[in-house]
Structure formats: C-alpha cells, structure tokens
Symmetry: C2
Subunit: 313 residues, 2 copies
C-alpha cells in the first residue's frame, strides 16, 4: 500500500530561553553548547538560544551572544533569540541571529509587568526595530510572540478582540510572522480552536507558531487542537522546564519529548530522533537536579509496538 507523504511539523526548542529563565540553576555556557549540539544531532533545527536582556535581570541568559555564534556554526540550524526592546534587537542584528522574537502581551497588566510598556508602545517599538533591521541590511526575521493570549494571572480574562487587533498591529508595524502563546497555561482546546481560527482568518499564514504551557496538563490537547487547524510549528522545552518570572504560578512549557512523541505517533515528521532526544533529556535532568521537571514519555518509554509505521496522516 502506498503511503501518503508525511507532513512536516517544526518543534522549536525554547528550553534554553523560556526554560532556563524561570529556574534557579544557571547553566554554564559549555553545558548550553552541549545542549545545542545534542539537540541538533537529535534533529532539532530551530532553537531559541537565549534573550538579549540586561544580564542583571536574567543572569541565566547572559551568554546569549556566544550561543548565537555557536549555533550559527551548525548547518541548517535556525538560531532565534528573544528581544524585549530596541537595544536587544540591535544586539540580535549585530550577532546575526536568524530570527528575533518580540514578546508582546495581549494582557495590559502582563505587558506592564513583563516589558514595562503598553501594547501601543510595543507597536511603536516594533516599527523602530523593523527600521533598524532594514537600515542595517540585516536578514534577521522579526516575529511577534503574543503572550497571555488565552488569559493572564494578573489581569484574568484577555479579550479575544484585543489579541486579534494586536496581531494585526504587530504585522502592520513590521513583524514578519506572529505566534499565539498561552504564557500561563490557561488555554483549553475549545479556546485554542476559537482563537486560532479567528487569528488565521485575520492574518492567514503569517500566524506560524503556537506556544503552550503544561501548567494544567493541557499542553498536548492544545497542541492537537492547533495542529488540526493547520499550525505546523510548536514551541516546546526539553524536560518541560519553563514559565515566566512575571506570571505567578506559570510553570512548565510543553515538553519537547512529549510533543515529538505525539506528533511522531500521529504520523507527522518532526525530523527529530526521539531516542536521542530522551538521552539529552536525561543529561539535562542531571544538570538541573533539584529543579521541577515535566513530561511523561521519559518515564514510561516508547511503546513496544510502533503504530506510526502502519499509517501516515
């Protein structure tokens, strides 16, 4: 029986940024190099290696420039960084990151706490970043990550209209793609369907990425809901580390290994070797002793039978 070609799904590693920024342990740069190398060997081709924020705020991520330089040596790897402001963006451009993610909060309360700006001020800043990028002749992609798109621990409900308006505003200001993030783990699959459907109607294929946290156990169900709508890029963090320092109670990104397991079993091609990824997870767990880790597949192991070989999507 001829099998239809598998569909590709990108699982972007954000453990080095979203993960490490939210825990106490400061990983030495050499271990981060080893993490990036092993993730690359396992097949990961998009890694958010850090943030360009002041080292006094997030000393865990002070070596971001070195990590970008390291990651750029690996052929085909997209090295992305988070930049909260123009100064950070200038550094991303300077070191030649392939992509820079600007976190924009749909919640006004979270925006004030996280980036000390209103959403409107963020839009002005995005325009300034776009101008700086173009003036520098840089190819660094500009992506907006819409934080707290599904609710906020500080503000509570976040109106869907606000989210859609800000997505459009971010693109109008010069971003090239946008993603929706459930920063605090509030989203349910019904909400994911509603908001992604609206967002896809509003901005089409400029909406490229979903970012879920497993705070309330729904990261994989939410991933499934977005996948069903055609989303083909998901942020995830090996060992499920992650959170947000300004969103109390938020912890645990979707774990890369569980997302890869689900997608692979469903017949999607992530390009990632799960056995190698699980070996990396074990290594990271050794580095992060005492930290709260997440994920399920590492504990039970992969099933004895392999249903994926018998079907494609």
């Amino acid at each position: 029986m001829t099998q239809p070609a598998k569909q590709n799904v990108v699982v972007r590693e954000v453990g080095l940024r979203d993960g490490l920024q939210s825990i106490q342990t400061i990983l030495p740069t050499a271990q981060k190099f080893a993490w990036i190398d092993a993730a690359y060997t396992a097949g990961q081709r998009e890694i958010e290696v850090g943030s360009f924020v002041p080292a006094k705020l997030l000393p865990q991520l002070a070596d971001t420039a070195e990590l970008v330089a390291h990651a750029k040596r690996l052929p085909g790897l997209i090295a992305s960084v988070l930049v909260p402001n123009l100064k950070g963006a200038e550094r991303a451009i300077e070191v030649g990151a392939h992509s820079m993610l600007i976190p924009m909060s749909a919640s006004r309360a979270h925006s004030a706490a996280n980036v000390r700006k209103t959403p409107e001020e963020m839009l002005t800043m995005i325009a300034a970043i776009r101008a700086a990028r173009d003036a520098a002749g840089s190819k660094t992609r500009i992506e907006v990550g819409m934080s707290t798109a599904f609710g906020c621990t500080l503000q509570g409900d976040v109106p869907e209209d606000d989210v859609i308006a800000l997505l459009q505003g971010g693109l109008d200001a010069g971003a090239e793609c946008v993603g929706l993030a459930d920063t605090v783990g509030y989203a349910d699959p019904g909400q994911v369907r509603r908001l992604f459907e609206r967002a896809l109607r509003a901005v089409g294929d400029k909406l490229t990425c979903a970012h879920f946290h497993d705070t309330r156990g729904l990261a994989l169900a939410n991933t499934l809901a977005a996948l069903d709508l055609g989303i083909r890029s998901f942020d995830a963090s090996t060992a499920g580390i992650g959170g947000c320092p300004h969103a109390p109670g938020a912890s645990g990104n979707a774990s890369t290994e569980d997302v890869v397991f689900m997608l692979t079993r469903m017949g999607y091609d992530t390009g990632i070797d799960l056995d190698r990824l699980l070996a990396l997870r074990q290594q990271i767990a050794g580095w992060l002793q005492g930290e709260q880790l997440g994920g399920a597949i590492w504990r039970a192991g992969v099933p004895k039978c392999n249903a994926r070989s018998t079907h494609a999507v």
Copy 2:
C-alpha cells in the same frame, strides 16, 4: 447573548476499581464509603465501585458487595462493577449492581494473562452471562470494555480488524454497550480517531465509552480526539491512580479532575463541581501516601479567569 445549551458528558469514576487494584495500599471500607459519598456530593453519577474477583487475587477489592449496597442508597447514582467471569456476573446480579463491565482483551496475549481465556472463550462467556442475567429477571446492564484496543505491552500491535470484530462479537453475544480502552497508555490521537471512527461505523451508538490511561501523557489529547467524534462518556480515576496488574509499565488512568477541568473549560456540562472534586482528591492523597499519584490541575489550581462562562460548545 443567548447561549446554546451545554452538552452533557459523563465522567465515570474508576479509581475505586482500576485505581485501587493496581496499588499496594488497601483502603478500608469506611474510606471507600467516604470516597463514594464525596464523589456523589461533588456530582459524580457513575462510579465503578469494585470487581467481583476472588479476594485472594485482589484483596484490595474484597468489599465490592458492600460498596454496591452503599452506592445503591444514593439516588441517581449508577453503581457499576467489573466482572471477569460468570461467577462474578452472578454476584453482580445478586447484589443488583446497575451495570457490569466485562473486560475483553483485543490482544490475545493480554487476554491469556488477564482473564486466562481466549477472546473466543470470552464471547461464549458473555453469552452465558447474558442468559444468566435474563433468567434472573435482572436489569443489570452488560457492558464490554475492550482492553488493549490500541496496543499491548505483551503482544505489541493489536490489529484494528480484531478490535472491530470483537466489539461486534461482544454485542452479538449479548452485551448491551461497548467501550474502547487504552489499557497500557499506547494510544495517540490519530489512532483514537481512526479506531473510534471504525468502531462507530461498525456498532453505532452501542459504543458508549472511552477509557484512557495517561502513561505517556496523552490521556487528555486522546479524550479530546474521542470527544470530537461524539463520545460522551469517559472513564477516569481521581488523583490519576490506576493501571493493570497484567500489563507491565501501565500506570495512571486519566485523572478525573483533569478531565473534568478540560471538559468544563470547553463548555461541556459534567455535573461535577471541580472544587469539591479537588477537595476529595486531597483527601484521597492523604489516604494513599507513598503511592504514585497523577494529574495536573490540583497543583496549579483553576485559572483566575473563567473562559467557560463566556462561551458554550
């Protein structure tokens, strides 16, 4: 704005059977009474209270007859039991259980290990149970739970054709409804969709129940997949306890509180009060100290905002 009526979903509690059979702790009958009472007060209306198996095999469940009698005093509560053979069925009929679940393994290896019969011998036995039930003038419903429908730790792959043939065989032999069970936590949402679609085509609304384990983190994603196909009854276990003594590595039913949280957030009506259920979970966790528990929502708590009030399904 007028809201459409919410759709009802039944979450059947199986912690007292599937949960307690797989752990070391033997709960005293008085604590099981308290569990049933609190689950009822929280709004649960279907509880699998135990199994009619020899006490020497599962001493944890030796008080099943008392639990049925206790549960029958609670108005509107459906008290179900698991029965592996005719003798167990005769006891279920004798004590007037509302429903009896016959576990049938789609995997021949699991069938031999779990009930020491081939699937064909199980079909003969179902016919004998139906005859005994009818001869007694009993109203005890006969349900077949199709174990290892998505794969088996002993046998590996389980052919979908076998599952469908056995579902039909069980109904032909006299069962009144059937469910599909991922006994060992192998199922992925794609497989759930394929098998449930085939089963619904084959047996229609006689397929009433889905039973997922969270062994590999996919219980909620699988629940979503079955929900999308119209399944409206799910087994789950408070605190995520569960497993199967004859399926190595299988542990952790879908946790009742996480399933209820997801369904409620999505706008379904389970009739269950999550706060009361979480209080019961805490009580159970106290009784089961040292046992491995599951679930996520108990840790993070319910979100500050309540999206469910703003939308229905």
